[in-house]
């Protein structure tokens, strides 16, 4: 397919500055009675957007072939819930760059940039994220800002970050030199420019398809400087949605237990920033688990000198008991609808798996064997619970249907398989296996097939899935200290993220 378009001067007109003159007006922010800031969608009218001369004529056939809801890039409603005073305006407009002169290079004839996540042999997408460009002086550093989203994308294991970068265009409002970017190998390009005004800042971030020389996504954010990380994470979520059809989870958090002199529960952003101490009890606290709505956690605590199941609402920050029966009340896990908690209790003599309400009332006893049963994990549809039992002599993982039936042993290899965690996508369970005296993170399909060992160095334990099922956080001592690591679900990229030693990470199911 050849496009003999005369000249590349039909380049899309990007918003030229940060004053918003040619941008659609930002989403309206309304403060409701509860003080939370809500966002109402900006009604996008295509005609109001930057005029694109002869745009329809320039649409490449491949691009046009891809079915999309009309105006989908324009009417995206940001899924903002928590961030304060962040405004996002959609500045993306279907600018078709007419400069398809370089079609002579066959490699430039391709489909929309999209990572096929179902393809096991999927190649990583080379993506370039040059330092963001400041417009005027300010407290923020463009290199640090770009590093945030670069790191987000790197941690997914889906991207190769292209390091080299051609010089910035003389005029920041000019579109990038796609040919130069193409020569770096980058298929996708993220550019950002920003302006600081007092304690607020404005960011314009763009995602380009380098080969098609096309703007895929453009967002304008404004908010407090203190929220700059979450604003960039939110753009990263949108980039993931564009490139994988599934929004990213870069605004999610990980709770964990400190592993030093105390056993207090901390939270941090998934990339290790924004560390906060959640409990200050002076007692042992273990096994944090987020409520599915993100409003609190449950955890095992020795506040009353024995392992009881406690809950902590973020609103009140006051812990309260859920289950304090004699013996163990440990490893509580919410079902994905938040209506049930599976946990291990030993008031009957041996630790068995029970299902209780979030108020602590027993719904049913799930296991009754003579082995030690612990560490339940729900299937995403709530129909089954996997757990650890040593009923056969060694700790192994079993799956029990919730509404009656026999337990089925899942792990058949090795003599120590613990910590099962069912992927939110349902396709795998992650668990900890003891292999040659060390612990390693493995995944296995619910039918027992496709066992993969994802870690190799040091001892690695306590896997927890990201809510999109694409990443796993875990504890590793491979570098001497026991830190929380994040890896992609294939184990290709494994990076320590926690700024302090920790264990028992639990990934939140909602973003900030």
């Amino acid at each position: 397919m050849k496009h003999n378009v005369a000249e590349g001067n039909h380049r899309g007109k990007l918003p030229r500055d940060l004053t918003g003159k040619i941008l659609p007006s930002p989403d309206r922010v309304t403060a409701k009675g509860d003080g939370k800031v809500r966002f109402t969608p900006f009604r996008v009218q295509v005609s109001k957007l930057a005029p694109v001369p002869r745009a329809p004529a320039c649409a490449p056939k491949k691009w046009a072939d891809i079915p999309r809801p009309a105006g989908s890039a324009l009417t995206e409603v940001p899924m903002l819930r928590v961030g304060k005073r962040i405004r996002i305006s959609t500045l993306s407009f279907l600018l078709c760059f007419l400069s398809f002169l370089s079609i002579a290079f066959p490699s430039h004839v391709h489909c929309k940039l999209l990572l096929d996540l179902e393809n096991p042999n999927m190649a990583k997408m080379p993506i370039a994220v040059p330092d963001f460009v400041p417009q005027g002086a300010g407290a923020l550093n463009g290199r640090e800002l770009a590093r945030i989203i670069r790191n987000d994308l790197y941690l997914t294991g889906l991207f190769d970050i292209v390091e080299s970068s051609p010089p910035n265009p003389q005029n920041p409002a000019d579109p990038p030199d796609f040919d130069a970017w193409s020569q770096t190998g980058a298929q996708a390009l993220i550019l950002g420019r920003f302006q600081v005004r007092g304690d607020e800042w404005v960011l314009e971030a763009m995602l380009y398809d380098v080969a098609l020389k096309k703007l895929e996504l453009g967002k304008r954010f404004s908010g407090r400087i203190n929220d700059h990380r979450i604003m960039i994470h939110k753009f990263g979520d949108r980039v993931m949605e564009k490139l994988t059809n599934i929004p990213g989870c870069f605004t999610t958090q990980i709770a964990f237990v400190s592993d030093g002199q105390s056993r207090e529960i901390f939270t941090m952003d998934f990339d290790g920033h924004n560390l906060r101490q959640l409990t200050q009890t002076g007692s042992i606290n273990l096994s944090p688990e987020w409520s599915p709505d993100g409003r609190g956690i449950i955890f095992t605590s020795y506040l009353n000198r024995k392992p009881d199941l406690w809950a902590l609402d973020f609103a009140s920050l006051r812990p309260y008991v859920i289950s304090a029966r004699p013996g163990l009340n440990a490893s509580g896990r919410y079902s994905s609808d938040g209506k049930n908690i599976a946990l291990s209790m030993s008031f009957n003599g041996t630790p068995n798996i029970f299902i209780i309400t979030p108020q602590g009332n027993i719904i049913k006893r799930l296991t009754s064997g003579r082995g030690n049963d612990i560490s339940p994990t729900w299937s995403p549809d709530g129909s089954a619970v996997a757990y650890v039992s040593d009923q056969a002599g060694t700790p192994q993982i079993y799956i029990m249907p919730v509404n009656g039936g026999e337990a089925r042993r899942l792990t058949l290899q090795g003599n120590y398989n613990t910590d099962p965690k069912w992927s939110p996508r349902g396709d795998f369970l992650a668990f900890t296996a003891r292999i040659e005296g060390r612990f390693q993170i493995c995944t296995i399909k619910p039918d027992g097939k496709d066992l993969r060992v994802l870690t190799k160095t040091g001892s690695n334990r306590d896997p927890t899935w990201s809510p999109d099922g694409r990443m796993i956080a875990f504890q590793s001592d491979r570098d001497g200290k026991k830190l929380i690591y994040v890896m992609d679900a294939r184990g290709e990229t494994q990076v320590p993220v926690s700024p302090v030693t920790g264990k028992a990470p639990a990934w939140s199911r909602t973003g900030r």
Partner: protein
């Protein structure tokens, strides 16, 4: 009268021999726990404090094999010894604290520690200690008595510690 003095003398001698023989296991005193503030009930009260301390000092830890919660002959001997001491102090209750070494995963270790404590308590009950004097708590691998990462430390950490209370 003389027999009473004899019993008291025998007890003192017995205690002395245990302490002096060097075969006594290392006893974890509340103030020797690496992380104070984590430990169980702190006993108080001026009257029985000394007696409690004597009983506490004479109770032996029960040690376990790796990944195991069955009672070895040595563990049974220690429990038998502990049962005799507890029989002589009927006003004393004990909490059996189950511990594991670090070579396990935390949640399974909680279950394992619970089972170790329970098997110890069951032995004591069989040996004649009233069940209402016995309770259990599992600390998993959260409170190692020896934080080192070697066989010696692990062997010391796989234990049930009987903590006295009133």
């Amino acid at each position: 009268m003389s027999s009473r003095y004899l019993i008291q003398g025998m007890t003192v001698l017995f205690v002395f021999l245990i302490l002096a023989s060097g075969c006594a296991r290392k006893i974890v005193r509340p103030d020797a726990v690496p992380q104070p503030g984590f430990v169980g009930p702190q006993v108080g009260g001026p009257v029985l404090e000394h007696e409690l301390q004597v009983v506490q000092t004479n109770l032996q830890p029960i040690y376990f094999d790796y990944d195991g919660y069955t009672l070895s002959p040595e563990a049974q001997a220690a429990l038998q010894h502990n049962a005799e001491i507890l029989k002589r102090a009927p006003q004393v209750a004990v909490v059996a604290e189950g511990h594991c070494d670090e070579r396990g995963t935390a949640e399974y270790n909680l279950a394992l520690g619970d089972r170790r404590a329970r098997s110890s308590v069951e032995y004591l009950a069989t040996a004649g200690i009233a069940p209402n004097r016995l309770s259990t708590v599992s600390y998993g691998s959260e409170l190692p008595v020896d934080p080192a990462h070697n066989e010696g430390a692990w062997a010391k950490n796989r234990r049930v510690y009987l903590r006295v209370s009133r």
